[in-house]
Symmetry: C2
Subunit: 247 residues, 2 copies
């Protein structure tokens, strides 16, 4: 995310937003996703007033720097690629993309120097057909068709989130160890030897035929996920304590 | 999405939610994503009262059917795989996954008959360490680290959205034609012939050397995206009108 130029981030254009609170929450969602530039087309309420600022939860910078335009046409004048977000199909021949596909495309186009923007309509009605007509493409967020109405800030959040995901490299799955080193195989196998000795006298391990398989199963339980060195030390302590008690 | 068994959908567990309104909005977000089962651990306010129902925007069924539990332990007792959502790292050795990775895993595990659940903490503090400790894994939603606080319903929405995406097959990019047939090549090339005839006398097409390249460029402009038959007919009408005027 670091080093992403302001000009490479899509512009969020709120067309005729009705409530200042929603504009504030949209700014918050933008900041959650590392977006910076908001533009407002004929907002009904004051987007830098108390209500909007409170709702922005710390994203007031976006509100105070937001450009205000009389028409959508003026708001998108300097952009090269414009998407309209809609929840319902219009009677138009139009390219429709998922939020994920559009995010990938915007990331790509931005790198080519094409400034991108996304239109969001008024809370109650969504975008007017004329505004959808100004856009190159439509973004439809895939959601339960029986219940797909989102509030304005949630729509901004989902589209922004998809864009943000294109900008970062986060491991899909990672073991967070808080500084504890993952134990190398020598240490793990040494623990298994120790375990075998401690359990040598244990009744369920007495059957010579079954013992190798049982130890194998036990090893696999510990090997299923990485173990850290401090965790191994805890296990040594526990087995020493327990075996001491029994002897 | 059709045919997904109730038992294959992850359970959303809200641990000690503070405000009924937030529980209602979380129910709305769940319905947006096709999720059905909500469980509440020691909610502070009435989750079936007026405030919660109003905030749910039509998802009150989820509220009325929500199970209420005294402890997190009881709420997850019948689940096989439990995730904790957290915004900040804890001092624990834990597997941390993105919402997207966890969603894919839940979809897979559910098909294997393992019931999954996701814990969300109280609005102000997030999950207590003891509740994170009950979970198998942690979900961290990738967001701007400088501003990653989400409200409860937004966190539910993002995790639910990722899960929903694993359940559906939506084309990433599609041309919506509203019934208009995309014109086949014969029709498009016929239009190009027509265009060539109409423009034969046009000054900028007079240069014999440049003409082929200019026509090619013109063709490519029309070929850049699919054209439907009704659109072609409109173009015929327009060029006939314009050429008629000039002749």
């Amino acid at each position: 995310m670091k080093g992403i130029d302001f000009m490479q981030k899509p512009v969020i254009v709120l067309v005729q937003p009705q409530l200042a609170e929603n504009v504030g929450m949209a700014a918050r969602a933008m900041m959650n996703c590392g977006l910076e530039e908001m533009r407002l087309v004929a907002p009904r309420e004051n987007h830098t007033g108390e209500k909007a600022v409170a709702a922005s939860s710390g994203a007031e910078k976006i509100l105070f720097e937001a450009g205000v335009f009389a028409t959508t046409r003026e708001a998108v004048a300097d952009l090269g690629l414009v998407y309209a977000t809609t929840a319902r199909r219009r009677n138009m021949v139009k390219v429709v993309e998922t939020a994920e596909a559009a995010a990938g495309e915007m990331a790509q186009k931005s790198r080519e120097g094409i400034r991108c923007g996304i239109l969001f309509g008024p809370e109650r009605t969504g975008l007017h057909n004329d505004d959808v007509g100004i856009a190159d493409k439509v973004i439809e967020i895939p959601l339960n068709p029986a219940h797909c109405s989102l509030n304005l800030s949630q729509a901004v959040l989902l589209v922004g989130y998809e864009w943000y995901k294109t900008q970062i490299e986060v491991p899909a799955v990672q073991l967070v160890t808080n500084g504890g080193q993952v134990a190398d195989k020598e240490k793990v196998l040494h623990f298994f030897d120790f375990l075998g000795e401690k359990l040598a006298g244990c009744k369920i391990f007495q059957d010579e035929e079954k013992r190798p398989r049982m130890l194998l199963n036990l090893h696999n339980m510990f090997l299923r996920r990485e173990i850290t060195e401090p965790e191994l030390n805890t296990l040594y302590g526990i087995f020493n304590y327990l075996s001491g008690k029994k002897e």
